[in-house]
Structures are given as structure tokens and as C-alpha cells.
Symmetry: C2
Subunit: 124 residues, 2 copies
Amino acid sequence: MARRKHTVGPRLRIFLDPEFAIGPGKADLLDGIRETGSIAAAGRRMGMSYKRAWYLVDAMNQHFREPVVETAKGGRAGGGAMLTPLGEEVLMRYSNMARLARKAIEPDLKQLMNKLAGEPENSG
Amino acid sequence: MARRKHTVGPRLRIFLDPEFAIGPGKADLLDGIRETGSIAAAGRRMGMSYKRAWYLVDAMNQHFREPVVETAKGGRAGGGAMLTPLGEEVLMRYSNMARLARKAIEPDLKQLMNKLAGEPENSG
């Protein structure tokens, strides 16, 4: 995957069982599939290989009770893909968790950012 | 690093600037140094190489305004290491952020866990 520029704040990886997690990569991929209607295009805009994007979608489809992504009949490349209702829910809940976590940690995060080299001193 | 058994729930990596994050690895390392009084021993119990443990400590010492870990005079291996007051604060705040984030995401996490293959259906 291409190196992303990280924004300041939390990145959340949530283990739903000991071997399966939803993190920023899978969430961004679901978001991309919703926006582009294509697993390949969604992966491409993240700098992710086609193979990797399919692997992540398949892992999600296997671990959840129902698929999160549906591909057009035949499953040919370029045939199109869309989120199922469960896929929409997974994406919505991940975004919600990321937002809530960001808000919950904000005071401690600000205090730590004040302790970085080269940052202005505030409350010490 | 040795493969760790993941517990269900969030793992939080917090970017304090675009190139510097505190995550479970650095937090566990600080915790280990506090408990063992040694960077090498702290790394060892995480299955982390001596070199990697020193690298992570050095990265933290460089990015914060003051060091987070102090080594005994001479800096010889086995000379002992301890957290500075800032190191204690970083560890305390990380633990606090992890606890607050876990609490904040709990309702959504439970809903998603109910949608896993093989899990009992609750609220649908």
C-alpha cells in the first residue's frame, strides 16, 4: 500500500474476534467501493493492489454472517461491486466508533501534543 | 516481534504528529521498563529484539521535549533504565485514552460482534 500521510489523532483497529479486525484500511476500502462501485477502483485510489483489495473484501465477507460487498453476476473484473446493507452498517459503525474515540481521547491527546519537542508549552 | 494473541476490542494508535505515534507497542514497552527496570528485559518479554526496543525508546526520547526513559550512567547494557516523570505521564495518558476509547465504542462494537458468522443473533 502507498504510504499515507497521517493526520494527527487516533487510528482505531478493532478486533471483533482474536483473528479479525476492522481498521482504517478495511473501512477506507468499503468507503471507496461505495463511492466508485468497484473493488479495483477503490483499491487503486488507496494505492492498494487489486489482489490485496479482493483479499480484504473476502476476509470481511467470510467473517461476517452475511457478505458486506456484493459483486455483479459473474464476478468479472470491472463487473461492479456494491455494499450490502450489512456493509453499509459496518462502515457506519466504524466511522461512528472512530468519531467517538477521537472525542473521548481529545483532552489527553492535547496534553501529550503539548509535550512534543518544538511545540509551544501550555499548561506544563 | 512475537505474534501476540489479540483480545477483542480496540487497539489504539495515536498520531501526535504526522510521523510519530504512540500505540500498543510503545505503551507496553514503557510499562515493561517500569516493571523490569531494563529496556532489554522489557523488550524480551514482548518478544522484541534489543535493537528494536532501543530504537522505539530513542524515537520517543527524540520526539518529546524531554526524555521518557532514563538509562543509568554509562548507558551500558544491563545498566538499568527507568521512566522519567514525563514517561510516567505518557504511559498513564495512553492507558487512560485506551480505556476511554474502549468505553466509547462499546455499543457499536457489541452490535458488530453480533453480526459475525457463528455468533448468536441478538437484536438483528
